[in-house]
């Protein structure tokens, strides 16, 4: 089953919750909706499910227009942020509930419930009530209920956000594995870029109700289509610096400069916004033409395997992501090195003109 949204908009009280979205979801695909809170992820999922009707545009399933069809007719499952289960029924009854509605035989129900419970490692809790279980187990019950139905579209609305960090890691992997064998379309909403990368599949970036980019997760990460996309899909946020390109050199924010190199030859002289990933800036020069900048340390955040350093001088605020432990006190003067071959170039309108690995071919 394939799902597509054509020019879909949802306007509430004059406000565009979703603005002209065009999305195609392939059968068996895993799609991540990445965006800030209130960017429109939940609104978009509700439109896909049929819980809300689009103000403009069409929704098609397998090429058939289903825009007005109510959700009960669409064979959808949804898992929510809050672990939603029927509190008065046992776990078994909870998982069986969608099958009961479809009037499946008792024998078949038993088989499928047991099978799904085993997949999610909750088979020993089948006779308990959801509220007696831990958060992770309750969410597993909700997921089992969503998966037992064999729906053509399964929606996950930030399902792991109320769980422990470690539990989140484990469940994320389980979700991916559970959906591998199926032909259903999965849509997973999240606010965390790292989660989008870990889940893989296709990532769609949502910003203020608009779809700004869509593609394989790693591609969207490496080649963001504009400044907003780069900002959304990067944690820590990508460093942005104003750069001026002249015939012979590039100047950053009227302070440091370096000679125009081969990669940047295609650019007409003028003002641009340059981007550098925090992981590409180092404390020692990696290449001969790295740009050296003198800064002061604002704060060094150590996380065991990595250190995030926030540095600044009168012109820049930069974030560095270094592997290993680096301990520095505030206001320590140090030098950092920017690779001039790994710059992102954005126009003043925000559009991406060049990313490392994809060179620009002159305008």
């Amino acid at each position: 089953m394939s799902l597509s949204l054509q020019n879909v908009s949802r306007i509430v009280d004059g406000e565009y919750f979703i603005d002209d979205a065009n999305i195609i979801l392939e059968p068996g695909s895993f799609n991540v909706l990445l965006g800030r809170t209130l960017a429109g992820k939940t609104s978009l999922m509700r439109l896909m499910a049929g819980l809300d009707k689009p103000t403009e545009g069409r929704v098609l399933m397998n090429g058939v227009d289903v825009t007005g069809v109510p959700v009960q007719k669409r064979n959808i499952s949804m898992v929510y942020q809050q672990f939603i289960n029927y509190p008065n029924w046992t776990v078994f009854e909870n998982i069986a509930s969608p099958l009961r509605l479809e009037k499946v035989s008792e024998l078949e129900i038993k088989r499928r419930v047991n099978e799904t419970a085993e997949m999610l490692h909750i088979e020993q809790f089948l006779q308990r009530r959801p509220l007696e279980l831990s958060g992770g187990q309750q969410q597993r019950t909700a997921m089992a209920r969503a998966l037992v139905k064999d729906a053509s579209l399964i929606l996950f609305d930030e399902p792991l956000v109320n769980l422990d960090y470690k539990l989140r890691e484990e469940l994320r992997q389980e979700i991916r594995e559970l959906l591998k064998a199926r032909n259903s379309i999965a849509v997973y909403a999240t606010t965390e870029p790292n989660e989008a990368l870990a889940l893989g599949g296709i990532t769609t970036l949502l910003h203020e109700g608009k779809v700004i980019q869509s593609g394989p997760s790693a591609d969207v990460y490496r080649y963001p289509v504009n400044v907003d996309a780069a900002g959304l899909f990067s944690e820590p946020p990508i460093n942005l610096i104003r750069g001026f390109v002249s015939e012979s050199e590039v100047t950053f924010d009227d302070s440091v400069h370096f000679p125009l190199n081969h990669d940047l030859r295609g650019f007409k002289p003028g003002d641009y916004v340059c981007g550098v990933r925090p992981s590409h800036i180092g404390l020692v020069p990696q290449a001969d033409d790295d740009l050296e900048i003198a800064v002061r340390v604002e704060v060094a955040e150590i996380s065991g395997s990595e250190t995030f350093m926030h540095v600044k001088n009168d012109h820049f605020n930069l974030v560095l992501q270094l592997s290993g432990v680096h301990e520095y006190h505030t206001d320590t003067p140090i030098k950092v090195y920017l690779p001039t071959h790994k710059l992102f170039m954005f126009g003043l309108d925000g559009k991406m003109l060049q990313a490392p690995g994809r060179l620009h071919r002159g305008i």
Binding site: R10, V12, G50, D52, K53, T55, P70
Partner: protein, 288 residues
């Protein structure tokens, strides 16, 4: 909301629509019809336009009754709202004590209106009533049947006894919804009991209090049975409120035309207050 269309829903609603039309809309239209006519008997009726409305609004009996009604509702709110809040604050929050209090508060609300009137009728009597007897035995000259002030006092007291529980229960549920963290933060900030009430509890009770005020205003404005049973509207006219005046005119004097006009005016006053309430609530919600 742009909900997905489902035409079957209209069929389900049809029986209710018919029922409401039959029992409410049609009679309402009939009342409107009567209100612009002078009816002598079944066959003789003249169209008089807005005559009744003019006459009623100028009728001193109505104006007095309206004034009495507003004063009554005003006192009801003045006493019951703060008292209800105070009771809710004093109630225990959990355990057996809480269940017991809730049951005690619910009891007055379960008693039928005319029984309430009768209870207080007896209660206030100076010969066999505990309250009346107690007052006279400490030297107070009390007689609700003959003294208008005493009658007002008794009617108000009866209403407070009957309905304060509602405000208290509403506020109680509102208070329970305040997370513990707020009280903990206040104690850490060394806030006094008064500051806690003023800055945490009262703001959080806002939406619940609006409901409480509206319900009490509407109910007290339409009050009929209890004062009628207790004082019959007396002594004289002193406790004759709006609904009783209306009934007297319509049934007692069999003057359907002006009675119909009167009811419509009554209806419009209540409608106006409800509308005010609705806009206040929406305004509050939007400001959030």
């Amino acid at each position: 909301m742009n909900k997905v269309e489902n035409n079957k829903a209209w069929w389900l609603v049809l029986p209710v629509v018919l029922l409401v039309a039959f029992s409410a809309v049609v009679p309402l239209m009939t009342v409107v019809n009567y209100s612009v006519q002078d009816i002598f008997d079944v066959n003789t009726a003249y169209f008089v336009g807005a005559e009744w409305y003019r006459e009623i609004l100028q009728d001193p009996r109505l104006q007095d009754s309206l004034m009495r009604q507003f004063i009554f509702s005003f006192f009801v709110l003045l006493i019951e709202i703060p008292l209800g809040i105070a009771v809710a604050l004093m109630m225990p929050t959990k355990g057996r004590g809480a269940s017991l209090c809730l049951i005690l508060l619910a009891i007055p609300l379960l008693i039928p209106l005319n029984v309430v009137g009768t209870i207080w009728q007896v209660f206030g009597r100076t010969d066999i009533g505990l309250f009346g007897w107690a007052l006279t035995s400490i030297g107070v000259d009390y007689n609700y049947a003959s003294n208008p002030i005493d009658a007002w006092f008794t009617v108000l007291l009866m209403d407070v006894w009957h309905w304060t529980s509602l405000v208290a229960l509403l506020c109680y549920s509102g208070l329970r919804a305040i997370p513990d963290a707020y009280y903990q933060a206040a104690s850490i900030d060394r806030a006094s009991g008064w500051a806690i009430f003023r800055y945490i509890q009262l703001p959080k009770l806002q939406s619940v209090l609006v409901i409480g005020v509206l319900l009490r205003f509407m109910d007290s404005f339409m009050i009929y049975t209890e004062p009628f049973v207790l004082t019959g509207g007396g002594p004289g006219n002193s406790t004759t409120f709006l609904s009783q005046t209306l009934t007297q005119m319509a049934i007692g004097q069999f003057d359907v035309g002006p009675a119909a006009a009167f009811s419509l005016i009554y209806f419009l006053i209540v409608l106006l207050v409800s509308w005010l309430f609705f806009t206040t609530i929406s305004h509050l919600d939007k400001a959030k």
